[in-house]
Amino acid sequence: MSVATGEKPVLSVRSLCKNFGALAVTQSVSLDLYPGARLGLIGPNGAGKTTLVNLLTGMLAPNSGDISLNGESINGIRPEQRVKKGLVRTHQINTLLMEHTMRDNVAIAVAERRGFAWRTLRYGPQWRACLEEAHTYLSGLGVAAAGDRRVSELPYGQQRLLEIAIALSLKPKVLLLDEPGAGIPSTDSHIIDEALEKLPAEIAILLIEHDMDLVFRFARDITVMVQGAVLISGTPAEIAKNPEVRAVYLGRSQQV
């Protein structure tokens, strides 16, 4: 993975458009994600960030434009197959399996990635391997001690970490983090910061986030979206200085 630094983008989006009736929610968006990228995607409410995520993951079909993963077009490929190809997302709100234990949540994902999930009658060694692997992801994020607890019993911060652990267990090439810090009280926000720092360097990450501080700490590049279109891209320093961004976005973010 780390060999491929630089040259070819792992995720490439070209002139992506999506309309809901007369409303253009995504207007000719293009962006490239290189291996190891840390791209922050920001924009005021209604800028079309969530729609973009849904287009990338295949939950929505674009009206026009092209998305390619590792140089291969993935238009028209079903969401679950995109996951298999290494395009993984986390969710803004919890979609965890609340009745399962933390470790089972990850192990189910591992089984899915390794292709064991169709195993019905003979599965002992495979499932044990999945549990072991799940344990390593949980310890990587420092939550292995709670591995046997049901997700519904866990504090919210740990549930957010579990969401990330599951995404990592799918061995993504591209990881879309959709507001990983949403709903966490500010006193605990360091939990997410620490988790993000530990993410493997070679994964290309697109971070969609409302919390400006988090984005500016984490991202090496930032893309600003306004009304479904890309306003500007640049380094955090450039973005912070840009008068247009200040006018359109930072000015309004006080109210957000």
Partner: protein
């Protein structure tokens, strides 16, 4: 809080073993239901055909537990597969062979195939639409059986010849099906046991766990790359096959297949048995079916009308007051004695297995 967990060294973790290797003394309670079933054979003179019917309902309920309990497919048309199995076994016995196992296998396969085919059509939909589709399918099957008199006998029903001796292969004389139904009881019990082991393995398997996940949150499962539809179709097919076996057993045991085996009422009754026993518990199917059949037997003897009151009332009471059914009630009772100890115990590497068994059993 999380700082402390983060700095703690990672626990040693040995994943629990599964299958026979995982059996311990504390799993000995599994012997209880099967022990009772075997004891019934020796001591319940004159009740063997009743016992056989109960076992058949156990198997049918178990099949619904897989589809409805674990996979979350809300269906009120499961009698369709039971009826298909019953008619297949009946028709095979009339026209092809009276070998019981051949009839049963064909009943299972045909019901399974129809389960997969109808599942492929309806499992794209959700909620009320899917529920209605299961009803529509059951109604279609019912009409076919009702109108196709040359094969099914219509509303007169289909009389099934007595099965040939069991396992009469390679010159072996086999076991004859006696009039008291003792051989039939053991035969049914063996089939139920085989399916139970399969069901047990399935719900503990990665496949079963992924379906449990789909029931809880299909979105999450899609996000980890699960082909949700295919997986549901597979489980629905397995469940339909199991229901087909139950129907086939009934055709062979009662030697009469009627339209009642396809009726909406039967789909309702099996749902009652499931929620009464407790969903997602496997043994809930045993408790629910045994309890229901016993009550039915008693109430119908007093007055058939009371029986309707009893099932209706039971169903309402379970939904309103007894979530988790009888198995849930047992949990609470045992929980009063053992609960405190388990709750306070910290998970350690030794108790991982205990916790693992719990997630499967005590949901």
């Amino acid at each position: 809080m999380s700082d402390q967990t983060a700095t703690k060294p990672a626990l040693d973790f040995t994943p629990p073993r599964s299958g026979l290797a995982a059996l311990q003394l504390r799993d000995a309670w599994h012997l209880l239901p099967w022990g009772i079933a075997i004891a019934f054979y020796f001591y319940a003179d004159g009740f063997h055909s009743f016992g056989t019917n109960v076992l058949i309902m156990v198997l049918f309920t178990l099949s619904l537990d897989l589809a409805l309990g674990y996979a979350g497919i809300i269906t009120l048309g499961h009698a369709a597969f039971f009826g298909i199995g019953a008619y297949t076994a009946g028709v095979v016995a009339v026209h092809m062979t009276t070998d019981p196992i051949a009839g049963l296998i064909l009943a299972t396969i045909l019901a399974g195939i129809l389960g997969v085919l109808t599942g492929m059509l309806i499992l794209h939909t959700q909620g009320v639409a899917m529920f209605m589709l299961t009803l529509a399918i059951a109604s279609m099957f019912y009409e076919v059986a009702n109108q196709w008199r040359s094969v099914t006998g219509g509303d007169d029903g289909l009389t099934v010849p007595r099965s040939a001796p069991l396992l009469a292969y390679f010159g072996f004389a086999g076991f004859r099906f006696d009039f008291r139904g003792m051989t039939g009881y053991l035969y049914t019990l063996s089939v139920v046991f085989v399916w139970f082991v399969i069901a047990w393995r399935i719900v503990k398997s990665p496949f079963g766990r992924s379906l449990d996940g789909i029931r809880q949150n299909p979105r999450r499962m899609r996000a980890i790359g699960t082909p949700v539809w295919w997986r549901l179709v597979a489980m629905y097919g397995i469940s339909a096959a199991m229901a087909g076996t139950a129907g086939g057993l009934q055709a062979q045991a009662t030697r009469l297949v009627g339209l009642t085996s396809l009726e909406l009422q039967l789909s309702g009754i099996v749902a009652v048995m499931l929620v009464l026993g407790g969903e997602r518990r496997l043994y809930g199917a045993f408790l629910g079916a045994v309890f229901f059949m016993a009550v039915q037997d008693w109430a119908a003897a007093v007055n058939p009308v009371y029986w309707m009151f009893v099932i209706g009332g039971l169903l309402m009471a379970v939904v309103l007051f007894l979530e988790g059914g009888l198995m849930g009630l047992l949990d609470k009772i045992f929980g009063m004695f053992a609960g405190k100890r388990v709750e306070n115990a910290q998970p350690s590497s030794n108790e991982v297995k205990a916790g693992e068994v719990k997630t499967g059993d005590a949901k």
